[in-house]
């Protein structure tokens, strides 16, 4: 730790590349630890993930959010294949910042919370590799680099599900791998085409630099729309947007607990983050053009996810379907294309990571004790495990979006922004909030209330370690719910820059804003009357 702190004092320390390098190096170290020192494995993995976490927190503290001029901070660049114009190009802004921090936080928590049942070394090695890949996605400012990291996370996740999962795990792992790989197949063609067309129209050599391509907007409108679709398909599968979601319930249910936490907490955000960074920013006009489609799919996802979640008999599957609903909100906010809604979406990505991560941890803890996740077979757990019931209540309420907890802030901003821009979509989406209360409270009631019978009555409560693991998540849930201002402040400038970018490149598009002054509304009424 002292090394990190010492290094942090120098201004040029490449913090973003080290977010990739540290976990990747950790994976190597763990993989080659001597077989006899099994006890070391977890410790070493924890140390590497803790260093990564510390680095991400340092990033948070050094981030200058008052700054308007530069969109990306901590930019570093290292040529990789100069003939193809591909470089290791990293940068962070207010949109990626908190996702990086979330990743940094969730991995050590997942390590602490759950021990693998076998093959510790490869388990932790894959986990650390996964972390490196995820960090790479959030930091990349090069299209190919982004694709590399986006695609490479499939491999560790595949192995985590297929080797440490439950039940029908190899089916679930394969489905997950193939769905996502097929989804992103066309994105690679899209990426290469973007770079070639950009080089054609601007002149000069091929570059995959995101900022350069996005700022020049050199691709013609019709082509850009097609290209946007190749990107959007990859993200839609990853998020997943209805109707491409079918891999998610399987993958979530069969994955080991830590796998589910990471899958829900971080991996799904790769898609929603991609939509903002490589959808809205790279293709503003096409995003605006296709916005109604995505708004509709978002709302469909919200309602569909909620209804299906209410029907589930398996607690983990229920949480998985609730993810579809939550991610529907994020998609909705993203395509409302105004500052409130996008800030809400980014915030909701973080919130969902925390709440759903915690929910999966709790479900995992129940499963560990009771060896079942069937809601029918559980019941009255609050008698035997009051502490767990308490934690579950708070996390569940945050997931529902109770005011005062983090879920409310994100959902409120999304709905507010969407209402300004696309009234009726917001109205329908609000039903989703009610439905969320329905399925989660109902599930809570069936699992924790009522009389406890036999095994349910004898279930042990949370152990100290488990409490310690859940506490930071709980603290964040409350903190973000009560005082989200510092977080929103850091996101806001970047999101505003993005919206201005969209305004600039989409003719006739103005950010749909909340008309706060009464005067403006009066003028509107006047105009309307004159029209008659």
């Amino acid at each position: 730790m002292s090394i990190v702190i010492a290094a942090s004092s120098s201004a040029t320390f490449p913090v973003l590349p080290s977010l990739l390098i540290v976990p990747a190096a950790g994976a190597l170290v763990v993989a080659f630890l001597p077989r006899v020192r099994k006890d070391l494995t977890k410790l070493v993995a924890l140390i590497f993930s803790a260093i990564t976490c510390a680095l991400s927190l340092w990033l948070l503290s050094d981030f200058e959010y008052e700054k308007h001029s530069d969109m990306f901070q901590f930019v570093s660049r290292q040529s990789w294949i100069s003939d193809f114009g591909i470089s290791w190009s990293f940068g962070a802004d207010g949109i990626s910042l908190f996702l990086i921090v979330l990743t940094g936080l969730l991995f050590p928590i997942a390590f602490l919370a759950v021990d693998p049942e076998h093959n510790d070394r490869s388990y932790f090695a894959w986990m650390l590799l996964l972390e490196a890949g995820v960090m790479g996605v959030f930091c990349s400012l090069d299209l190919i680099m982004f694709f590399l990291c986006f695609e490479v996370v499939l491999v560790p996740m595949y192995f985590l599900i297929s080797r440490w999962g439950h039940g029908n795990r190899s089916y679930a792992a394969t489905k997950f791998f193939l769905f996502t790989m097929a989804g992103s197949a066309l994105m690679l063609v899209g990426i290469i085409t973007v770079a070639f067309l950009h080089a054609d129209s601007v002149g000069g050599s091929i570059t995959f630099d995101l900022v350069e391509i996005a700022e020049s907007q050199s691709i013609s409108r019709g082509t850009a729309r097609w290209l946007f679709l190749t990107f959007a398909l990859a993200f839609a599968v990853k998020i997943p947007i209805f109707p491409l979601h079918t891999w998610l319930p399987d993958a979530h249910t069969e994955a080991p607990t830590a796998g589910s936490v990471i899958l829900a907490g971080v991996l799904l955000k790769l898609g929603t983050y991609g939509l903002i960074r490589f959808g809205l920013y790279l293709f503003p006009e096409a995003s605006h053009f296709f916005a109604p489609v995505f708004l509709t799919l978002g709302v469909v996802g919200i309602i569909y996810g909620a209804v299906v979640a209410a029907m589930q008999k398996d607690l983990k599957r229920l949480v998985a379907y609730s993810s579809i609903a939550h991610l529907g909100f994020i998609v909705l906010g993203t395509f409302a294309l105004n500052t409130e809604a996008i800030v809400g979406s980014v915030l909701q990505m973080v919130n969902h990571g925390i709440s759903t991560g915690a929910l999966f941890l709790l479900v995992g803890m129940i499963y560990e004790r009771r060896h079942t996740r069937q809601i029918d077979e559980l019941g009255g757990l609050q008698h035997s495990a009051p502490l767990m019931a308490g934690f579950f209540t708070v996390v569940m309420l945050s997931s529902i979006g109770l005011p005062g907890l983090n879920g409310f802030v994100g959902e409120f901003l999304i709905l507010l922004g969407t209402f300004t821009a696309h009234r009726w979509w917001a109205v329908v989406a609000t039903v989703g909030v009610v439905l969320a209360a329905l399925y989660l409270l109902w599930a809570y009631q069936r699992v924790f209330h009522g009389p406890a019978e036999k095994e349910n009555a004898e279930m042990t409560d949370l152990k100290t370690r488990e409490t310690l693991v859940l506490l930071p998540l709980l603290a964040l849930i409350v903190f973000l719910g009560v005082y989200p201002k510092p977080v929103i402040n850091r996101m806001e400038n970047s999101v505003k820059t993005l919206v201005v970018h969209i305004e600039k490149h989409v003719s006739g598009f103005e950010e749909p804003v909340n008309r706060q002054s009464l005067g403006e509304i009066k003028i509107d009424i006047q105009q309307a009357e004159e029209g008659h």
Partner: protein, 496 residues
């Protein structure tokens, strides 16, 4: 040439540039002679000489490469043989394929009781043919190279004398191969009829400078040559021999067929189509693009339904051939460099993957069902890890050489505005990924009770698989120097 002359003028020969052919051919003949003179069999003699020849050629290519890079490509023997960057690059790939085949063949031949002398002699002869193809500047020389290469391989496929599948595969391969040679030869004849020369430089100059009023004969010539060469690289729809031949042939021979023969076949395609027929690109580009797309789709889709790992890899090799053809159709420098890069990576992917098939195949070389791979991770964790790298490389997962190879050819398709082809190829790659996942799943699944057999992994297998996986990883992480080499190796036709 057509001027009558009293004294016979012998063409100039650049001996150092012919070194690889000479080394391979002479060591083959030497081996044959020495063994027939010896009274007692010396077991290390045949593999030793073969390995030495391969390593010698591999290392001699370094000074040759430097010389060509400094002095430029050369042509000699009346311009019928040329040596350029691609010749040396592909020759070293052939040498690598030869080395790994001979390393893996040694324990295999012992195990299966196959006489090893013939095997190594034929392998060396075949390699000599491949090298001839990589340096051919004349259609006749090209055809000679193909025949030297192929006839030896027909025999190699049949070498497992006690296995009926081996004989069957050889007959199929031989019959179809003979037909394809006939097609190629007929195509060569038609091109000669249209152009008046078989020299590649002559053909290129003629096509560039003169307008044919009637080009039907030339077109049929192109088509027939494409059929003949398409057969050699196993492109759809000339692939039908591949699965049977791969399944039946002794597994080390399959390594040679997948790596060595394919490299030589693409060497010929690169010399003929993008180089010689450059000015008629509008006439052959679309057919080649169609063949490449069909190969990728067909290979990937059909591989999915296979249950025999050798057949899976055979169909995936058809898909790989399709990917390489995508680079060929672009016919520009970047595309050709991408083809060479792909060939380089594929040589290692194929060597390593089939090396593992050799081991798992077990006694009788028949245990190639997917079930045979079940629990491999428990029995041989390190071997399974290496195989994982190779399979992920074949699937084109990022940070493996396979990805960079695919990136190159897909870029070349985008560059020539064949967006649809690029899209089809990528979607097929996603389908093909399932093939490799199935093998991975089997490896990491739990062992069925009572099926635990001890697998003997020889040192050679370790060496080949470890080196192949290392190359696949290194080319994935630090591709730049390798891309530079392939860009310097893009073939150029020069007249002497």
């Amino acid at each position: 040439m057509f001027v009558a002359s009293n004294s016979v003028s012998t063409p100039e020969i650049v001996w150092w540039a012919l070194l690889p052919v000479i080394v391979f051919a002479v060591s083959g003949l030497l081996l044959l002679t020495i063994s027939s003179l010896l009274k007692k069999e010396i077991s290390w003699l045949a593999p030793g000489i073969t390995l030495t020849a391969g390593i010698f050629v591999l290392f001699s290519s370094i000074p040759m490469w430097n010389r060509i890079q400094n002095d430029g490509p050369i042509a000699f023997l009346n311009d019928s043989v040329g040596t350029d960057g691609s010749t040396i690059f592909l020759t070293s790939l052939i040498a690598i394929a030869l080395i790994s085949t001979s390393i893996l063949a040694r324990p295999y031949l012992d195990r299966e009781g196959i006489p090893d002398l013939e095997f190594y002699v034929l392998l060396l002869v075949s390699a000599a043919g491949g090298v001839v193809m990589a340096g051919a500047n004349d259609l006749i020389v090209l055809f000679l190279g193909i025949e030297i290469l192929s006839i030896a391989v027909y025999v190699l496929v049949a070498l497992h004398l006690r296995k009926i599948e081996s004989q069957e595969a050889a007959i199929k391969y031989f019959l179809l191969g003979a037909f394809s040679s006939a097609f190629l030869l007929y195509g060569i004849a038609l091109v000669y009829g249209a152009v008046g020369t078989t020299n590649l430089i002559g053909i290129r100059n003629f096509l560039a400078n003169s307008l044919l009023i009637e080009d039907g004969m030339l077109m049929i010539g192109f088509a027939l040559m494409l059929v003949g060469l398409g057969f050699k690289v196993a492109a759809f729809p000339f692939h039908s021999w591949t699965p049977d031949a791969y399944q039946g042939a002794p597994t080390p021979v399959v390594i040679w067929m997948a790596a060595g023969v394919k490299v030589a076949g693409f060497a010929a395609i690169l010399r003929v189509f993008p180089l010689t027929f450059a000015s008629y690109i509008d006439d052959w580009q679309i057919p080649v693009a169609v063949l490449s797309g069909l190969s990728v789709v067909f290979g990937s889709v059909v591989a999915v339904v296979q249950t025999n790992v050798k057949r899976m890899l055979a169909y995936s090799s058809i898909a790989h051939a399709g990917f390489i053809l995508i680079g060929v159709q672009s016919s520009n420098m970047d595309g050709t460099a991408a083809v060479l890069f792909y060939l380089g990576v594929y040589t290692f992917l194929a060597s390593g993957s089939f090396a593992i098939a050799t081991v798992v195949g077990g006694e009788g070389d028949s245990n190639h069902d997917l079930d045979a791979y079940k629990g491999l991770a428990k029995r041989k964790p390190a071997l399974a890890a290496l195989f994982t790298v190779l399979l992920l490389g074949q699937a084109g997962i990022p940070f493996t050489g396979g990805f960079i190879a695919k990136l190159g050819v897909i870029s070349s398709a985008v560059d020539t505005k064949y967006y649809f082809l690029a899209g089809v190829a990528m979607v097929s790659a996603a389908i093909a990924a399932y093939v490799y996942l199935r093998i991975l799943m089997a490896m990491y699944s739990d062992i069925n009770e009572g099926k635990i057999e001890d697998i003997h992994v020889s040192k050679g297998v370790w060496v080949v698989t470890a080196l192949s996986s290392a190359v696949v990883m290194v080319t994935g992480f630090i591709p730049e120097p390798f891309i530079e080499i392939t860009r310097d190796a893009v073939p150029i036709l020069v007249g002497g």
